[in-house]
Symmetry: C2
Subunit: 325 residues, 2 copies
């Protein structure tokens, strides 16, 4: 008997979740739900495509609904709404609003006897779990998070909004000297500029003022002004040939002490060929947990902090202890 998965939203993340379902023998993709006209959408796996209005009946036969929307406006509304009908999971990542989102999902899920897992993926998600484990093990220590090398979709989008820009791919790159210093256990104080550089590959409109575009990028507040940024202008062909993937990754490095003169360094790092497929894969492991927790009668909002690792696996406790401990 498979765990029946529904996907709401078919962008990069929805496709990543679809790929992940195929790698899990105990799961099946029941349907992709869309706000578009269902007949206009074909999905890679050939799964059924249905309208979000089908979902809103609350009668769809799915065990876990994966909500693949944006954190700005989609998830704050959708996750609580559907947590009142189904077990749900999302990748909400607007940090400042996590407490509110958690409370809203918790209230809806508890009232419905469902599980709602929020903020799942790798950051927030696996990086968060690793920050927490490390700080609990070594309370006298300091954590650092480095992102990249990888494509930041938010920064790429920001450049695309500049006049004269047709397309952009922005790579976030950790500064090697900063990484080395942190890995050595030196506990440096690092400014934003010292931790990461940014590199933009830009396709400009014909005849656009490239110097003005470059300046607009480099001085953009929040996104680029605090970083050393390199801008390359390339053709649409080069963009398609060299920058079609969405690789990402990074490291959570924690350095701490247990007694005078001792230093311990813990590092969790990811090198990902596809950010959305990996994120989708983390979400699938936690979707299994959502289903199992709900089968046990639990309800309410959860994060990666609240879920024991064994719940992510289809294997029994005996098998896990025998083969993974």
């Amino acid at each position: 008997m498979s765990i029946k998965i529904g996907i709401l939203g078919y962008g990069n993340l929805g496709r990543g979740v679809e790929a992940a379902v195929k790698k899990n023998d105990d799961m099946e993709l029941v349907a992709v739900y869309t706000r578009r006209a269902p007949e206009t959408l074909t999905v890679a796996s050939g799964a059924a495509v249905k309208s979000v209005s089908d979902l809103e009946t609350g009668n769809e036969d799915i065990d876990v609904l994966v909500i693949c929307g944006g954190s700005a406006t989609d998830l704050p509304e959708m996750t609580p709404k559907f947590a009142a009908m189904y077990n749900v999971i999302d990748s909400f990542d607007t940090h400042a609003n996590i407490p509110t989102h958690f409370a809203n999902v918790d209230a809806a899920a508890k009232a419905a006897g469902k599980i709602g897992i929020i903020s799942c993926g790798w950051d927030p998600g696996m990086f968060s779990v690793n920050r927490l484990y490390s700080t609990c093990i070594l309370p006298d220590g300091k954590d650092y998070t480095f992102w990249g090398k990888g494509v930041s979709q938010g920064h790429s989008d920001a450049v695309r909004r500049i006049e004269g820009v047709v397309d952009c791919r922005q790579y976030t790159i950790p500064v090697p000297a900063a990484l080395d210093k942190v890995r050595s256990g030196a506990d440096p104080d690092l400014t934003t500029r010292e931790k990461h550089t940014r590199e933009c590959f830009v396709v400009a409109e014909e005849g656009a003022d490239l110097a003005r575009i470059e300046n607009d990028i480099k001085t953009m507040p929040n996104y680029f002004a605090d970083y050393d940024t390199t801008v390359h202008f390339i053709s649409a062909e080069e963009m398609a040939r060299d920058h079609s993937g969405l690789p990402h990754g990074g490291s959570v490095i924690y350095s701490g002490t247990t007694s005078e003169g001792t230093k311990h360094v813990i590092e969790y790092s990811l090198k990902l060929d596809s950010n959305p497929e990996f994120t989708g894969s983390v979400i699938m492991a936690y979707a299994r947990a959502a289903y199992r927790l709900n089968c046990e009668g639990q309800s309410g909002a959860k994060t990666v902090f609240d879920i024991a690792p064994a719940y992510l696996s289809a294997k029994s406790g005996d098998e896990l202890r025998a083969h993974y401990l």
Copy 2:
């Protein structure tokens, strides 16, 4: 109100736990329990030293007993015995016997309404958790564990038993080329010899046959025969000066795929100045979990797989979500 910790056994690990208690504001070390005559033992923190027979009354006022004994004979007897009286935690690491040990501790702890956490530390422990997370996220993948560079106490002890050897420190060292290949996502098949080398620093008796000792080491079945081993003879002074620490570490590297042509590499690595102090620190985080689980009315044997990360922290769910997610 502090969590009251008792330590049974005052070897390297017992001292590591003692150091870790001091780093946790919500814990206090009530007593170190010993099989020796208590008056012959002084402990670094100045905590009370009591006899194991005091513990056997079942009346000691401790919230969690940390059992710091050997996996061969001590823990199989001690952990179930004391799980019938106290919340307990151990670092049992004889892999083949984990199912039996778990069952014995589970029965005793359940009957007593106590929690017994077994096999806690970094391997088994944090390495196990990381193997499990990765395999759940990327079911189509492969894991590798590398140990070192670090001192293997088991291998050091094995060399010390050779005739003519006064002292030995054995370092386990991952082969850099193997690490590189695994980190690249190439999924190589590696033999034991290809993964690690071993380096021994040996103090020999005056006039001992060094060539024979070196041969005895290099051909020792299980411990050295399957490895490329280097042997250095040094003086007792050099041993004391250069090899007094117990550094260790290693990496769990997992490489997996989510679709044709994609590869993701997850690495969890540790660089530890003191193996026993870090192990003791992991144990303290899980001792807090043992106490909290028991306060909630739970009982029975648990491993790191069964415990949600939030239980390791003294902070509330709200605080964790606001600051670590």
